[in-house]
Symmetry: C2
Subunit: 304 residues, 2 copies
């Protein structure tokens, strides 16, 4: 029997990843308006994206977040470690340190890492095909950033991305692979060892990326409470018409979300926010953001 | 140092999966014409699809294949085991036995299994979300078919499909998972045990589905010569614009094909055909099939 929290009566454990309402009726929605709309609905946590924060100004957002008493279930995102040359690696390193600083200013629970893939692939032209090299640069990049983030007490959450993004967005593609990196770089934090509280290096479990994995339950158990730093929900639609921007609202697709939340909470011991992250260029981003947020609340209570 | 066959001088190890030229200039191309076009170019092997065979008639195709001395690197496809009810399971079972019979008539090297996902998902409406149940039905279905196929001496090749097809096409999504099924249903065939020659149950390694897997090399080695029944090539494009029908020609994408062929031949001991399987609704299916076949030959020699 799985023990899990009852979400049906309120939405105190709902967090909104602000990409979910990046657009309202197809038009860019500034982060301050997103924050106001969340706060009005009693949503207690968000996870904003760096570009949205930059557009409004870090101080502005920091003040708004504090004024509304919002928590950040995460900060999106650091990563993109691989590069074609030393200059590119240096640029990524500096940018990731700034991301840690911003996450600290906003008192985020963790900095989410989308680790990057083959250099150039996101722009349509990979400069090489050496996935092992990219993975090695990712490991080195995380290792280096970890020294800094640890000193700043900002946990890093590696987000394994769906294998369909291996080339251009993230070459860490399973929870097992992410946890292997955690074991290698931060062995002491395996559950049971070291201090309590979140590990300096852990994982973000986004159902969209990992739901298919036959080893998911076992790897959630392996991760355990200290390394399960974030839990993202949405749904997988059939058919899926776009590799990036056709995510479904919880309940509209094929993922057995309550089952996996049960694993995360019971086997993994996770007790944090359930963060809704939906990229949906033809559906949810075309609707009014108020309707989208109301739907997130309803589905959080009934389908998560 | 990886030992692998030299493909640069001829195309004796090239096989054409006939879906690659399913259309010529956007129009359906009947299988007899595909066979003639392959034979004219000295292509020695094909892997036809059941619907193409059915459209032309099994006898017609069987005679044509023999007349041209063509081999079948595989027969596409059996599978689709999960169903919503007992009647659906029975229908799948009977259909799969017919697929074995057809593969025998055509003297295929193996029957490729695309195992199926959640019942109804391919039509856009999954009847349930229980992936574990689907996987259990797949295992039972393969186990049952294996009794028949073994008696007919037709090897079954489980094709792990990319995780983006987990819901609607195949819930076996990694080589490791496929080999776990092989171990469970046909333990004696693990390399080193039993007779020589192809195992009764093995795997089809299609680069499109498995190239991203951090455990790929290890699992290829695990599979070994007896269980590596088929090797399919194409390429992964960046960006990929369609989940099903935007595969790339070898050399046009990001997969390090020679590296993986090296693993398959050296670590795995594979010595069969390299089968080109490209679904490409907006590019290669719009071109003349003669140009497509000529390009396959050229790329087989230079990019595989």
């Amino acid at each position: 029997m799985t023990r899990m929290r009852d979400f049906s009566r309120d939405h105190r454990w709902l967090s909104i990843n602000t990409a979910t309402v990046r657009k309202s009726r197809g038009v860019d929605l500034p982060l301050p308006q997103i924050i106001e709309a969340c706060a009005r609905r009693g949503i207690r946590a968000i996870s904003p994206w760096r570009d949205q924060v930059a557009a409004a100004g870090l101080d502005t957002i920091s003040n708004l977040v504090k004024a509304h008493g919002l928590e950040l279930s995460g900060y999106c995102r650091g990563g993109m470690f691989p590069a074609a040359d030393a200059q590119g690696l240096r640029t990524a390193r500096e940018d990731n340190r700034r991301a840690v600083d911003e996450a600290c200013e906003l008192q985020a629970a963790c900095l989410v890492l989308v680790v990057g893939g083959l250099p150039g692939a996101l722009a349509g032209k990979a400069v090489h095909k050496d996935l092992a090299l990219a993975r090695s640069q990712v490991r080195d990049g995380i290792g280096e950033l970890l020294e800094y983030s640890r000193s700043m007490r900002m946990p890093l959450a590696i987000e394994p991305l769906h294998p369909m993004y291996a080339a251009d967005r993230a070459c860490i593609n399973t929870l097992e692979q992410a946890l292997d990196v955690c074991d290698e770089l931060d062995a002491a934090a395996a559950d049971g060892a070291g201090p309590s509280g979140p590990a300096a290096l852990g994982v973000a479990v986004d159902l969209y990326h990992v739901w298919w994995d036959p080893k998911l339950k076992a790897q959630i158990e392996r991760a355990g409470k200290r390394r399960l730093l974030a839990f993202h929900v949405c749904d997988w639609l059939t058919p899926t018409t776009d590799l990036l921007n056709d995510r479904g609202m919880m309940g509209d697709g094929v993922i057995d979300i309550p089952q996996i939340r049960g694993w995360v909470e019971d086997q993994g011991g996770f007790a944090g926010y359930s963060e809704v992250e939906i990229f949906s260029i033809d559906n949810w981003w075309q609707r009014d953001h108020g309707e989208v947020l109301d739907t997130c609340i309803e589905r959080h209570r009934g389908a998560v």
